[in-house]
């Protein structure tokens, strides 16, 4: 029984970390007023890149590349949203489509082979054709991982999960207790006020967008390497979009995002467990709907709450800023 609880908790955290990493970055983007609908595309690019680069070089390179490409992709969004003042919904979708197409393209057998050989000409044949990459190993923390239930779940995970443990409170601290965080939040609420006090609104928004891209790339790398290292097209299946709902659910607060992320982690874990109990061969599809339905329900509930308590979306979300217009 105890083992069962521990394994459920462990899986919940494992899955939840995907959502946590993705939403931490997006919280910063949205807090500064930029909606990054490209999250899904960046995530899947992160996954595809980590697939290829792990085979060619190893885990570390893969993770770094995913983050860097994530930053670059979101830079496209940043330029188009901040300087060209284009509609962020449409630009973000275009970016997601690009990511989906490009990732499928580079990970397709022929192209992938070509890329792998270019990167590392001495790769053996089996690596050139495999659909699988070595998973990130678990790194149990001595002593802590021996605590019953909690130790096994929290402290017997891979390194990226530990990164998320540190990242969430750190992001919270930066957002609420530092000058940069104050500037960022102010830009999101009233860019004119920030501008009038000499805050560089454009720079802040660029940085925030790049942060969301970097985290999304990392989330994609984690999804693949840390969780499910079998490449398939459409691997992310909307997880990036669910992360966007998570951002709203967490009321743009990194600490609350932890709770929300593990909520969705739990829902998916439930989905897998129920499948194991053999609820019919048809059930996988019905169960697979759970995360999406839960996302919708949470959005409805939070809208209701927000209206009642007057908690706001960052006031300038999605609205381009210009001084002279």
């Amino acid at each position: 029984m105890i083992e069962w609880i521990e394994s459920v908790l462990r899986l919940t955290i494992q899955v939840g970390t995907i959502y946590l990493l993705a939403s931490l970055g997006e919280i910063y983007a949205e807090r500064s007023g930029i909606l990054n609908l490209g999250l899904e595309g960046i995530m899947i690019m992160g996954a595809a890149l980590s697939f290829i680069f792990t085979l060619a070089y190893g885990h570390l390179a893969a993770i770094l590349i995913s983050i860097i490409v994530g930053v670059l992709m979101s830079l496209i969004l940043a330029v188009m949203s901040v300087h060209m003042r284009l509609n962020q919904v449409v630009t973000g979708l275009a970016l997601t489509m690009l990511g989906l197409g490009l990732s499928g393209f580079i990970a397709s057998p022929e192209i992938r082979r070509g890329i792998l050989l270019t990167l590392n000409p001495s790769l053996p044949e089996n690596l050139l054709t495999t659909q699988e990459a070595p998973k990130l190993p678990e790194a149990p923390i001595p002593l802590l991982s021996e605590i019953p239930i909690l130790g096994g779940s929290f402290f017997n995970q891979n390194v990226l999960v530990y990164v998320s443990y540190v990242a969430a409170p750190l992001m919270w601290f930066i957002l609420f207790k530092t000058r940069f965080g104050l500037s960022l939040r102010s830009v999101g609420e009233n860019p004119a006020a920030a501008d009038a006090l000499g805050v560089n609104v454009y720079l802040v928004r660029y940085l925030a967008t790049m942060i969301s891209g970097g985290f999304a790339g990392l989330a994609g790398a984690y999804l693949f390497l840390g969780f499910q290292p079998f490449w398939q097209e459409g691997l992310t299946a909307g997880k990036g979009f669910i992360a966007l709902s998570l951002v709203i659910l967490s009321t743009w607060n990194p600490l609350r995002a932890i709770l929300g992320a593990y909520l969705f982690g739990g829902v998916e874990t439930l989905q897998y467990r129920l499948q194991l109990f053999g609820l019919g061969a048809q059930s996988p599809y019905i169960l697979a709907m759970l995360p999406y339905l839960v996302a919708i329900i949470t959005l409805v509930l939070i809208s209701y709450e927000n209206i009642r308590k007057r908690i706001g979306v960052p006031a300038s979300l999605g609205i381009p800023y210009s001084r002279e217009e």
Binding site: H83, L86, E233
Partner: protein, 366 residues
Amino acid sequence: MSLRIKTRFGILRIERRLSYTRMFSAAMSILSIALAFAVVGIILVIMGLDPIRAFSLIFGVYVKPPLLLESIKQSIPICLSALGLGIAFKMNFWNIGAEGQLYMGMIASTGIVLLHEYYGFFQGWMLLPLMLASSFILGGAWCLITGFLKAKLSVNEILPTLMLNYVAILVVDFLVHGPWRDPKGYGFPLSIEFPSYAKLTLIYGSSAYTGLLLSIAAAAAVFVLMEYTRPGFEIKVVGQSVNVARYAGISVSGVIMLGSFLSGGLAGVGGLSIVSGIIGRLRPGASPGYGYTAIIVASLAGLNPWLIVVTSIFFGGLLTAGGALQMNMGIPGSATQMIEAIIFLLILVGEFLKRYRLILERGVRD
């Protein structure tokens, strides 16, 4: 800092244009597409593939009759969805759920066929009209869910419509793997094939003509709706400003719900055109992203119904070309999506260049 960027060559100033002609606008759009193809060409070269061969394959789909018919066939679901999106976007309702509404339309149509084939309901001639009606209603209802959430609970429509896409696809997965699986289908997840009177009428052996008629009829209907009717006017007003709409006595929630229903309904009919016009049955992954392509089409066409018909054919051609590229040159199918996305991004950049002028002031010292 705002509108000035210091570059090595001087200061780049971004200034809003006072106005621009339609010629200019069209020229910019064409330039964007040309640029997109240039980028694609470069990517092909880097991949070690022959761009000339690729482009000739692509242009071929618009010129060689059998391929052109295929392009038109592929354009129908895109066109119908995009027409629906035209209504939604005019209303400032970001319907990202056209893909799911397409699937719901497919479910409705297949359901009618199955009722007929398995239970003997309806006469044969009734099927197509019933399928048309039911796909409209089910697709409309699927979108109305989000429309209701927005109208009554102020939930932002982007994420719910998106989430419902994944749900709809899973519903289809469930049905074709389960209760709707063709018993004679050797275990493959397919529905039975539709009888001929449940398929779009073949003219000269292709459903493309009937489909095109359907597209044009729908475009005409949308045009009349938006330009000559009260609901169309209200949709435009609500899309401009919800506050001014209320001030004018318009029931904003009513308009949002109607608009979302109509938008989803058209996409639902798009679903009909897939199962009845392209595949002939229901199967998983029946849509290679028509609903998302429709978003690009609607944006590119500026929400104009007639331009949407034409633009859909262009993108239908791209899809067909994607198939040709895959067969003849081994380029993976995802390339099509990539090309579409690049076109989309460059068109958006073109939008920016339409609205703003870039002026380079050389050698200005601060």
